[in-house]
Amino acid sequence: MVTNITSFGRSGLSDWLMQRVSAVILALYTVFIVAYLLFNPNLDYYAWSGLFAQTWMRIFSLLAFVSIAAHAWIGLWTVTTDYLKSTRLRVGVQTLIILAIFVYLVWGIQILWGA
């Protein structure tokens, strides 16, 4: 049996399910944000920060952040295992990707909740 320690959920099945669930969440979030921007052409700072001050929007946004982190990890892990055949290079790139995802996630949370 093939096993992997750097994949997101250590299981192809859980990675596959997570990839699809996170894709649906990201699709819903994207549609919502695009629709919001289209329906509010004269958007100002107060309306925008008012939107993100609401609890449901913060939950929705945080859900989207976590989803994109998981989605990117699973997707890029797949790309690295396909194309990077040198173990040293592959593990190095995977570590960089996971670190970058972590930084962006914490940064996003700070922007969302820090204001």
Partner: protein, 236 residues
């Protein structure tokens, strides 16, 4: 002029430092020959040309090769299906090590086939006559058992090119599902457990190259989807 211009991949590791393409002029006498017939006409010109063939009617699966960029069986592929601009380029199945000319080492392909345990496993006592199936249960095996293991599908699959040691490949997975779907097999749970890692099944990205090239018209992508459904049903 009925001369067909054929470009063939040549490589003899004992004498050649690198593979090269050799040009042939083949007189087809205006007939719509099969690609295998053209290979035989070329072998008359150069008897050293090596390729596999056996039944010459699409049953044995020996002469899988890449014809003008698409995998298929040379014996059942008419020139009119593949030739463009009177030119035909023949290469061995992509992604497998070349032994000589069009002959590839199928070791990895068979290893993945072996890994899915392509035989019926049943731990219940054998009945006096035979294990019966209803016509409905038997119907589930249609579109699965017909595979001749020619490797056209697996060698057209990028996921198999990049990870032939870990990804089972479309041919192996079609056969895996053939036994998962068989009402007489009782090793379903063990079979599923051996497939749930990130490579064996889940490296399939669903690009359906396998479906596009299968000379028997089978659909490995659908079988892979069914395996995923069974894994999900078993684990959630």
């Amino acid at each position: 002029m009925s001369n067909l211009q054929v470009s063939v991949y040549r490589y003899n590791p004992e004498t050649d430092s690198a593979p090269y393409m050799q040009e042939f002029q083949v007189d087809t006498k205006g007939r719509d020959l099969m690609v295998l017939d053209v290979l035989h006409l070329m072998k008359e010109q150069d008897s050293a040309l090596a390729f596999r063939r056996s039944c010459r009617e699409g049953v044995c699966g020996s002469d899988g090769m890449n014809m003008n960029g698409k995998n298929g069986l040379a014996c059942i592929t008419p020139l009119s299906d593949v030739v463009k601009g009177n030119k035909l380029t023949l290469r061995p199945l992509p992604g497998l090590p070349v032994i000589r000319d069009m002959v590839v080492d199928m070791g990895l392909f068979y290893k993945q086939y072996e890994r899915i345990q392509p035989y019926l496993q049943n731990d219940t006592p054998a009945p006096a006559i035979e294990r019966l199936q209803s016509p409905e249960e038997r119907d589930k095996l249609d579109g699965l058992y017909e595979c001749i293991l020619c490797a056209c599908c697996s060698t057209s699959c990028p996921s198999f090119w990049w990870n032939p040691d870990k990804f089972v490949g479309p041919a192996g997975l079609l056969q895996s599902y053939r036994f998962l779907a068989d009402s007489r097999d009782t090793a379903t749970r063990e079979r599923l457990t051996s497939l749930e890692d990130p490579f064996s099944v889940f490296r399939c990205r669903g690009i359906m190259n396998c479906v596009a090239v299968c000379p028997k018209g089978l659909n490995p992508t659908r079988a892979i989807g069914k395996i995923r459904e069974m894994l999900l049903a078993d684990a959630t």
